[in-house]
């Protein structure tokens, strides 16, 4: 009964956590009400919903969930502000920019490579090896995926060759980080330079000025025609537009997500990885091979990041260009940190970043707003900076991250 007594003060405001989460939801809803298809043209309705969000936030803060509460308050304020802006914009502009099905479909497309790389990064970092070389490993996957698909005529072989190349680069990183006890950030930087040089060199050497051939074998899309027949018709066609013809790799990323979660948090192997990342000496003492686990984790991270890269080259754009990952490995790293080194957290962050990538080009549809598209691209990084700064719940890395382990 003592636990009930201790909890008593907190339960004075019952359920502050769900209320806080509901507050964030209401804040988003307040903004959404002023956008197509609902199109509230007066501020009144969003303002009421936003005020409710702020109230929920205040309730949560009073109940002791300070960060969540303040997030809900912020969501309410931003929701009302966004709604005010939206009601001042012309309806035709809003309709040109906001087509939910297009935006959500594109969000999934942009989030997928980030998801693969972020999940890969999770394995490496959970085992205690910082991997800022994700960008380079993705780039290797993108080039060798395309090259392998071109040479073998099969996208499956392309994907496998791409993964192997990423794993090989990761092995270099692992060797320097684990055996040679080099600085892992320096090693990761080196790996990025190397990948840029190797892929650029081979691309120019093999494909020259012509670029990769147009008939590269591509990873197929999955067509789900039956989605369109789901009643009511508007919902069916909406689902069809969002999910009806996504790439196979998009669906595989969902599978990977679940598998990664189970492996990391529900199996002995995951426990080994996490213990090596939190307290290698203790793990060593109970007979876990610290080096072995770290090598396996880093190589896995390389293979997964390369899978994301291969999706870019032979799943998404069907060609390779020099430095085509263009910083996506770093965004994946940001997603990993934003998601607190957890698979679903990282996926949620990847979706958020994917959304901003999907939304930015939509702004091009209205001339007056087109310049803000590029500004919008900076949003994921600003959010990550805020997240790292500890405003939205502190991201705490694995305890032994970045520290080489020396056997005794």
């Amino acid at each position: 009964m003592s636990t009930a007594v201790e909890r008593a003060p907190a339960s004075a405001l019952a359920g502050s956590e769900p209320v806080g989460i509901a507050g964030i939801g209401l804040g988003v809803l307040a903004f959404w009400l002023a956008l197509p298809p609902v199109h509230s043209r007066t501020v009144a309705l969003p303002a009421v919903v936003g005020a409710a969000a702020i109230a929920c936030g205040a309730w949560a803060v009073a109940g002791g969930r300070r960060r969540l509460g303040w997030a809900a308050v912020a969501a309410g304020v931003i929701g009302i502000a966004g709604a005010v802006l939206a009601t001042h914009a012309s309806v035709s502009h809003l309709q040109a920019v906001i087509t939910w099905s297009t935006i959500l479909a594109a969000t999934l497309v942009f989030a997928t490579p980030l998801t693969y790389a972020a999940i890969g990064g999770m394995f490496s970092e959970r085992s205690g090896v910082v991997n800022i070389g994700l960008e380079g490993m993705m780039l290797m996957g993108a080039f060798f995926g395309a090259y392998g698909a071109d040479k073998t005529g099969s996208w499956v072989a392309g994907v496998l060759i791409g993964m192997a190349s990423g794993a090989a680069l990761a092995l270099v990183h692992a060797f320097f980080a684990i055996h040679l006890r080099a600085d892992q950030i320096v090693g990761g930087t080196a790996v990025n330079f190397l990948a840029l040089g190797i892929t650029g060199y081979l691309y120019v050497d093999i494909y020259g000025n012509n670029g990769t051939p147009d008939n590269l074998p591509a990873i197929p899309d999955v067509h789900l025609g039956w989605l369109g027949s789901i009643p009511p018709h508007s919902l069916g066609s909406f689902l069809d537009e969002v999910l009806g013809s996504q790439n196979l790799m998009v669906w595989l990323s969902f599978v990977l997500l679940v598998v990664a979660y189970i492996v990391m948090f529900r199996t002995p192997l995951g426990l080994h990885i996490r213990s090596v990342g939190e307290h290698p000496r203790a793990a060593d003492t109970v007979g876990i091979s610290v080096y072995g686990v770290r090598y396996a984790s880093v190589v896995t991270s390389g293979a997964l990041a390369a899978l994301g890269g291969a999706y870019l080259s032979i799943g998404f754009v069907n060609s390779f260009t020099e430095n085509m990952t263009a910083g996506r490995g770093f965004i994946a790293l940001a997603a990993l940190i934003f998601g607190k080194w957890r698979p679903f957290g990282a996926f949620a962050a990847a979706l958020l970043f994917g959304f901003s990538s999907a939304f930015a080009p939509q702004l091009q549809n209205v001339d007056a707003w087109s310049t803000y598209g590029t500004l919008f691209e900076a949003l994921p990084y600003v959010l990550t900076l805020i997240a790292v700064a500890g405003v939205i719940g502190r991201s705490i890395p694995p305890a032994a991250i970045g520290r080489p382990y020396q056997k005794q």
């Binding site: 080196a190 990948a195 840029l196 087109s370 590029t374």
Partner: protein
């Protein structure tokens, strides 16, 4: 803790002497049953790492790069490197080069030093933070912020006299770069946010905000040419004066001396000021520094801000020295800040080392440019990527002193092993 213990510069000098001293040992003492203790050897290898590692690193990287050339194109790597070397203009330093060859070499050397100027400065940006125990990956963002500030001030404020205009633009760019990096320093100092993550984020924020400012319809885009994403040009009186070569042919501007001046400032600041002492103490061991009464947070912030100022300065040198305007592509693909990492690492964060490494990488970049490299010897597009591979290898090997020390140890074992085998008989 004395100043000397903290001073790797001094160790380098000591190491150099020790290397020469020890090199003669196997011959001199081969007859005696001399065997240095394990600790003695280890101490020596650690010190030898100071001067030997960078040289071995660079040689190893070029060697592997040569293997890549040989394996992929079947061409003689030495001939390729020779062609790259000729494009760098460094042959101007040889007294026997004369006539048209010499004037061509002079032109090439001007370009090499032109590229070296920002590389030295971004190298210092990385090196200064390193001395405080931080890894500033954000040199690129700080460079962009500096360049944007310089182009903005250089193309406005037209009433000012030339020298004042330059001064205001350069100082503003350094301050802007310092403030940009200062964000990361502040976050590290106040709540312990890791500077690698924050500077990576700040890099991309700088790229995208810069793209917005410079790009179509952006506030800094030149309204006179609405179809091009490029800023207005810097006023002619705000151009940095050219002191070697022709101003029309993009000769070498005085920014090169500013970079050398920055090296001197860096050396003095690190080695001869209280600030430098504190920065090094924090980098050496933050806990011990805190115990000694040094404010760790203050030094994190200051070191980061000063680092950013160097990178911002680099941006202003390029804008006021030879680019004179900023376009969208430059903002998005510039990688000078990243090359600065390789410069600082190879230069071991010392002033002289950064200078030499800056020249080396600038020479590589210039020697492999399409303008300078003879396509019949080696495709310049390939060579540009070869430069990146070499750059990556350099960073990789520098990061792993142990590898170089293993190799070094191995070499010495071979040499030391022989006399011992004889005495064992």
């Amino acid at each position: 803790m004395t100043d000397d213990e903290l001073d790797p510069d001094l160790e380098d000098v000591v190491a150099e002497e020790r290397v020469e001293e020890l090199d003669s040992e196997p011959e001199a003492r081969s007859g005696a049953d001399y065997a240095p203790s394990v600790a003695e050897r280890l101490a020596f290898y650690q010190r030898a790492g100071g001067i030997v590692t960078p040289i071995l690193t660079a040689l190893l990287a070029f060697f592997v790069g040569g293997l890549v050339v040989l394996a992929t194109t079947g061409k003689n790597p030495l001939a390729t490197y020779r062609a790259i070397f000729d494009g760098t203009g460094l042959n101007w330093l040889f007294p026997w080069v004369s006539g048209t060859e010499r004037s061509l070499a002079a032109l090439n050397l001007q370009q090499t030093l032109l590229i070296a100027t920002p590389l030295i400065l971004t190298g210092l940006a990385v090196a200064f933070a390193f001395r405080c125990g931080m890894f500033n990956i954000g040199g690129n963002g700080q460079y962009i912020v500096g360049a944007i500030t310089a182009v903005w001030i250089g193309s406005s404020l037209n009433g000012l006299p030339g020298w004042l205009h330059i001064l205001v633009a350069v100082v503003a760019a350094a301050v802007a770069g310092g403030m940009w990096a200062g964000i990361a320093g502040f976050l590290k100092a106040s709540i312990g946010a890791h500077e690698v993550i924050t500077t990576i984020m700040l890099n991309w924020i700088a790229v995208w905000v810069g793209s917005y400012l410079v790009g179509f319809g952006g506030p800094l885009q030149d309204k006179a040419q609405i179809s091009a994403p490029v800023t207005k040009s810097v006023a002619p009186d705000a151009h940095l004066p050219v002191f070697w070569g022709s101003a029309v042919l993009q000769g070498l501007h005085v920014g090169f001396f500013i970079a050398i001046g920055a090296l001197a400032v860096y050396w003095i600041m690190i080695n001869r000021t209280t600030l430098g002492y504190e920065v090094r103490a924090v980098g050496f061991n933050p806990e011990a520094a805190r115990y000694g009464g040094i404010s760790v947070a203050r030094n994190y912030f200051l070191a980061m801000a000063i680092s950013g100022a160097f990178a911002g300065l680099a941006g202003s040198m390029d804008i006021l020295g030879w680019q004179f305007h900023l376009d969208l592509t430059t903002v998005q693909i510039s990688s000078i800040g990243f090359t600065g990492i390789a410069v600082a690492l190879l230069g071991r964060n010392t002033a002289v080392g950064t200078f030499l490494a800056g020249i080396l990488f600038a020479a590589l970049l210039n020697g492999t440019s399409t303008r300078n490299l003879d396509p019949s010897v080696f495709k310049p597009e390939l060579a540009g990527n070869l430069t990146r591979i070499i750059q990556g290898l350099v960073v990789l090997f520098v990061g792993a002193d142990l590898l170089i020390l293993y190799l070094w140890q191995w070499r010495r074992k071979l040499r030391l092993g022989r006399p011992r085998a004889v005495t064992g008989q």
